[in-house]
């Protein structure tokens, strides 16, 4: 502290300490403590609140379906020139309404079969129908508001008994626990794959003979790295779709016949989620490893080679030991991202594949409206990640200062 005031004076030091204190308290420590507190508080809620939550969910689903009808109606009317005024609310996600999911809200799509009889309607009928649907939506919206208000009051201190216990964890069903373990296992496998795929690339980049080659490799790595995670996932969904590129390729080489309706549905499986995750998070492994190998004195490799070390020995005895901190950082980042990813399972899975743990957390919060159990689940995920970090740090013998560079 003394040195700080000496250089920056009292005023500035006070400002810095104040800001950091606010940061730690309001953004890091107290929120975490609150989550832990909730995780260990069990809400003994009467059936009533739960029913109410269920009703609200139903109302949202209904509203979404009517909105879809309205949308189809408008598309027929205005032949795709107008864009959707009643786009779906983000809180009616596909998993609550799997049946309605495939009707994408984009204009210009083929009308869904359920709406095809309406094709014959005149413009007036269509408008009357639209007005009717709109009034239905309005009625539903006011009902939702009412119910949510009711829910807020009843889920207050009056509505339920709270007690301190481990029940949020112990009531986790066997299925959820299995999903938890599977998620961690998959995340670990993604990490191992990412290392195997990335190590040669990082090595090649660090050993590049010319600056031009290095620049080229780095640009080639930075571009996909910087492209949004969702888009990287989306590009793979296009490949794995039933009408996607992979099936078209198989069709092309004569393994399947797409015109006869054959084709594999690769999406919506754990394998697909896994494949996409490797693709989406692989690059978080490259840069840390590259940065550490880059600092290795190249003459060490020369020396090992001159002394007769095989390629394998050069890597296991010279390069990898030097790259340890980078491998640790890369592993931690890749594991953390894949274990906590909600984008990949949501988009690749379309709510139809076995759940990922992050999706369970989401549903605890936003569908079951059970925040305390949601907190318990996120705490479980957080703990798993911290344990992974500690184990990695121990294996690679690196400290905190090395991992966050």
């Amino acid at each position: 502290m003394g040195e700080l005031t000496k250089i920056y004076g009292r005023g500035l030091t006070f400002l810095f300490v104040g800001l950091v204190t606010i940061w730690i308290l309001l953004m890091i420590v107290v929120p975490q403590i609150r989550m832990i507190e909730r995780a260990f508080t069990f809400e003994d809620r009467g059936g009533e609140t739960a029913m109410l939550a269920l009703d609200i969910d139903h109302a949202y689903t209904e509203k979404f379906q009517i909105e879809q009808q309205l949308l189809t109606l408008q598309q027929q009317g205005s032949s795709g020139t107008k864009s959707s005024p009643a786009a779906p609310s983000p809180f009616t996600p596909s998993m609550t309404v799997p049946g309605a999911a495939p009707t994408a809200p984009g204009p210009g799509l083929a009308p869904s079969p359920s709406a095809s009889p309406q094709n014959a309607m005149s413009a007036e009928e269509r408008q009357a129908e639209a007005a009717d649907l709109r009034s239905q939506i309005a009625a539903l919206e006011s009902r939702i508001t009412d119910m949510e208000a009711q829910e807020d009051t009843s889920s207050g201190e009056a509505g339920m008994k709270e007690r301190l216990s481990l029940d949020n964890f112990t009531t986790m069903s066997a299925l959820h626990f299995k999903i938890f373990l599977m998620t961690l296992l998959y995340a670990f496998t993604v990490t191992v794959f990412a290392f195997v795929i990335c190590y040669p690339v990082a090595y090649a980049a660090a050993m590049a003979e010319s600056r031009n080659k290095l620049t080229l490799i780095l640009i080639g790595l930075v571009i996909p790295y910087a492209i949004n995670e969702l888009l990287r996932i989306f590009s793979w969904v296009m490949i794995l779709e039933k009408n996607g590129i992979l099936n078209a390729f198989l069709d092309g080489i004569g393994i399947i016949d797409m015109s006869a309706g054959e084709g594999f549905r690769f999406v919506a499986s754990n394998g697909a989620v896994f494949t996409v995750m490797v693709y989406a998070y692989v690059l978080f492994m490259v840069f840390p490893i590259y940065n550490t190998i880059d600092t290795l004195d190249k003459s060490q490799i020369e020396a090992a080679r001159d002394l007769g070390a095989s390629v394998w020995k050069i890597h296991t005895r010279v390069v990898i030991p030097h790259a340890k901190p980078g491998i640790a950082v890369g592993s931690i980042m890749t594991f953390m991202l894949s274990a906590g990813s909600i984008a990949a399972p949501e988009i690749v899975g379309r709510g139809m594949h076995p759940d990922w743990f992050s999706q369970l957390i989401y549903r605890r919060f936003f569908e079951a409206d059970s925040w305390n159990q949601g907190s318990a689940y996120s705490l479980a995920l957080l703990t798993a990640c911290i344990i992974f970090i500690l184990i990695t740090m121990a294996i690679f013998k690196v400290g905190v200062k090395d991992i966050a560079k």
Binding site: I28, K298, D306, R350
Partner: protein
């Protein structure tokens, strides 16, 4: 540098070694080609589909060239609104992250004490824990203690909690290379700490501050996991893209993708070339 060591070698052994090195070098180059094909082909398919008239995004079922998906984009109110939300959040994130990151970096680089390691661990922890946990804790905290429903503000705070850590790490890296003699000399010559800070420390950090602004901006705009949990019923451009993707595929998403990719490539190439020139 390899040439110099090769000369001193006995000729046959060196030749043999060079041959095996050529061989493994070619293998490595081949692997690089495969790797980059793996990285870029899916993105290429996505770009092609953005210009395809087919109503579901496809790179194989070509139904003619069109720019229709791009022209439909600005008419989509939720996307446009989402973009404004994203920009507002990014502005807030920059405004909070830079001062927080700077404060943390000053304290950690200038304070020698046993507390520093603990402080450092706490301040970098947001980078190391899953984004969804950050989103969840922020949402719970602001609702429980301040009665604030999840929305744009909580999304901004949740993002700031880890983007500030990234900024701090960047500032620390820069401060560790600072020559402190300059500051001490100025102080000895009677400059006030405030003046030293304004005339020496801040100018020294300025390039890093600019980089940190750009990186915070990009991180904020692109963030999905944390925002998805912290934003409640509101939305940003990226969470909207995510929910559209879940409802099914539409080439409008590909059109957005092409725009994102174009921006990314421009920034990435400029950045790489600029840093290369400087080095």
């Amino acid at each position: 540098m390899t040439a110099a060591s090769d000369v001193s070698m006995a000729a046959p052994r060196a030749a043999a070694r060079r041959r095996s090195r050529d061989w493994s070098g070619a293998l490595l180059n081949g692997y690089l080609l495969v790797f980059f094909a793996y990285m870029f082909l899916p993105l290429g398919f996505m770009v092609i589909a953005a210009f395809n008239a087919a109503p579901t995004p496809s790179a194989t079922d070509w139904q003619g060239f069109t720019l229709r998906w791009f022209t439909e984009l600005p008419q989509d109110k939720r996307f446009v609104q989402g973009l404004w939300h994203s920009l507002a959040i990014a502005g807030g994130v920059i405004a909070f992250s830079i001062p927080l990151g700077l404060s943390g970096a000053f304290i950690l680089t200038r304070m020698q004490s046993r507390v520093t390691t603990v402080l450092y661990t706490v301040l970098v922890s947001p980078v190391l824990i899953p984004g969804i946990v950050l989103g969840v804790t922020t949402m719970i905290f602001w609702r429980d203690y301040f009665g604030l429903q999840a929305g744009l503000f909580t999304a901004m705070i949740a993002q700031t909690s880890f983007i500030a850590s990234y900024c701090m790490l960047m500032f620390m890296a820069r401060l560790q290379r600072q020559d402190r003699v300059l500051e001490e000399a100025a102080l000895d010559l009677g400059a006030t700490p405030m003046l030293v800070f304004r005339r020496i420390t801040i100018p020294f950090l300025m390039p890093t501050i600019l980089t940190a602004c750009v990186i915070s901006f990009l991180q904020s705009i692109e963030n999905y996991n944390t925002t998805f949990f912290a934003i409640g019923s509101s939305w940003t451009l990226v969470t909207e893209i995510g929910s559209r993707m879940r409802f099914g595929l539409s080439p409008i998403i590909n059109a957005i993708g092409v725009i994102f990719i174009a921006i990314t490539i421009t920034v990435a190439v400029t950045h790489t070339l600029v840093t290369r020139k400087r080095a």
